[in-house]
């Protein structure tokens, strides 16, 4: 979904009407930016069962921050700043968003390599940019679906050590994905 300047300007005008209390304009705006915010959320929350909760949080924050939009400024950066910070706060408040294992039914075939798994290009690039040790932990645990014990045995380190590496990897991965989005 690619939004051109006219689209952003139209949303900016709707936002001004929303600030004036126009319910219809708000409904139209939420229907139009909803898919954008939902896609933004889905891309960053790895556990599918939590995406809807985080999306709701993002919409609530958008609602509370609607007075803080300056009509003379572009709408896009404002919207994504609100969405990104709301999402980060949700992640910070609830570590399970990043630390919970993916449900087993969503795990890909463990025999496959990350390159063969049809991962999003951005995710693949972000994964490749991680330090080797952290990347290996993330790939084994989150992509190949190894248990902590299996992954620790594979690398030849303790379970505690792989937890630390994986956690660092998740944090770095999240940061890189967010940086990529704001570029």
């Amino acid at each position: 979904m690619h939004h051109d300047d006219a689209q952003w300007e139209s949303w900016s005008r709707l936002m001004v009407r929303v600030q004036a209390g126009d319910e219809t304009a708000y409904r139209v705006l939420l229907e139009e930016i909803g898919p954008v915010l939902y896609a933004f959320t889905r891309k960053r929350v790895f556990n599918p069962s939590l995406v809807d909760d985080v999306y709701q949080e993002v919409l609530m924050t958008f609602h509370k921050a609607r007075h803080a939009y300056e009509p003379s400024r572009p709408f896009g950066p404002w919207l994504f700043t609100v969405a990104r910070n709301s999402l980060l706060d949700a992640l910070g408040k609830n570590r399970k968003f990043v630390e919970r294992e993916l449900p087993t039914e969503n795990l890909p075939d463990r025999a496959k390599e990350p390159e063969d798994l049809g991962l999003d290009d951005g995710l693949l690039m972000a994964l490749r940019s991680l330090p080797e040790a952290n990347r290996r932990a993330v790939v084994l645990l989150k992509i190949k679906g190894y248990s902590l014990e299996e992954a620790a045995r594979e690398i030849g380190i303790t379970v505690s050590a792989i937890k630390v590496r994986a956690h660092r990897g998740y944090v770095q991965l999240r940061r890189k994905l967010l940086e990529k989005e704001t570029e």
């Binding site: 300047d5 004036a20 409904r27 898919p35 954008v36 939902y38 509370k64 007075h67 400024r73 700043t81």
Partner: protein, 230 residues
């Protein structure tokens, strides 16, 4: 305008989307939009001028101020204090508005000015011989600490009300910028009032409160500037 590209959501929108939209739009009330950042900064500027004039009306400037300011290091110190305060105010405003980011120039500018504020007294201001311990120095500086802090509190409260209307996602940073701006203004005022330009006195009585009050303002910021989200 920067373009943003996002993939379409796979599998459509969540079932609760419609109910959230209904909930948010029902009985929507008008909101007063935030003032543009430059307007907020002008409000701060007017407040800063007002506080400085008012404070100096009550406190009176030091005798022979014109001669004191003829000294380059003194006038540079004062100019840098006011400038750092103004830039920090801009930092507080920018960091509290979503979609605005603090330019590296603002950060470098404030950092350089603060470094200069520490360097100038150390290098250029006279140092009294036979100064006592830190605690005895502190005792002699109490008046300036109280007055400088009291003067800084006024613009801090004013700025706090101004910034709390914004929607800061970085309340601690907002508090830190607002605190440093306000208490630097207090330091500038006390520097115009206090006749002592002795290095220890300036460091302990005029600059130390800025650091301490900025820490306190950072903590207060985490409470005050996060309230809009509740």
């Amino acid at each position: 305008m920067k373009r943003h590209s996002t993939p379409p959501p796979k599998g459509g929108m969540p079932t609760r989307h419609q109910s959230i939209v209904g909930e948010l739009t029902r009985g929507l009330k008008p909101v007063r939009p935030v003032w543009p950042a430059w307007v907020q900064w002008l409000v701060w500027l007017a407040q800063a001028v007002g506080v400085t004039v008012l404070a100096l009306t009550f406190l009176r400037p030091q005798d022979g101020l014109r001669a004191v300011l003829a000294e380059t290091s003194h006038s540079a110190f004062l100019c840098m204090t006011f400038l750092a305060s103004a830039l920090a105010a801009w930092g507080a405003i920018a960091v509290s508005l979503p979609g605005r980011s603090l330019s590296p120039w603002t950060k470098v500018g404030v950092g350089s000015l603060l470094a200069g504020l520490l360097a100038i007294p150390l290098i250029f201001f006279p140092m009294a011989q036979g100064t006592g311990s830190f605690w005895s120095e502190l005792g002699g500086c109490c008046g300036c600490i109280y007055i400088g802090t009291a003067v800084g509190l006024v613009p801090w409260i004013g700025m706090g009300f101004l910034l709390s209307r914004n929607a800061s996602f970085h309340p601690a940073w907002t508090g830190a910028w607002a605190g440093s701006s306000s208490f630097l203004l207090g330091t500038a005022v006390i520097q115009l009032h206090c006749p002592s330009w002795e290095m220890h006195h300036v460091m302990v009585g005029h600059l130390m409160p800025v650091a301490l009050m900025t820490l306190l303002a950072t903590w207060a910021g985490t409470k005050w500037f996060a309230r809009w989200r509740r």
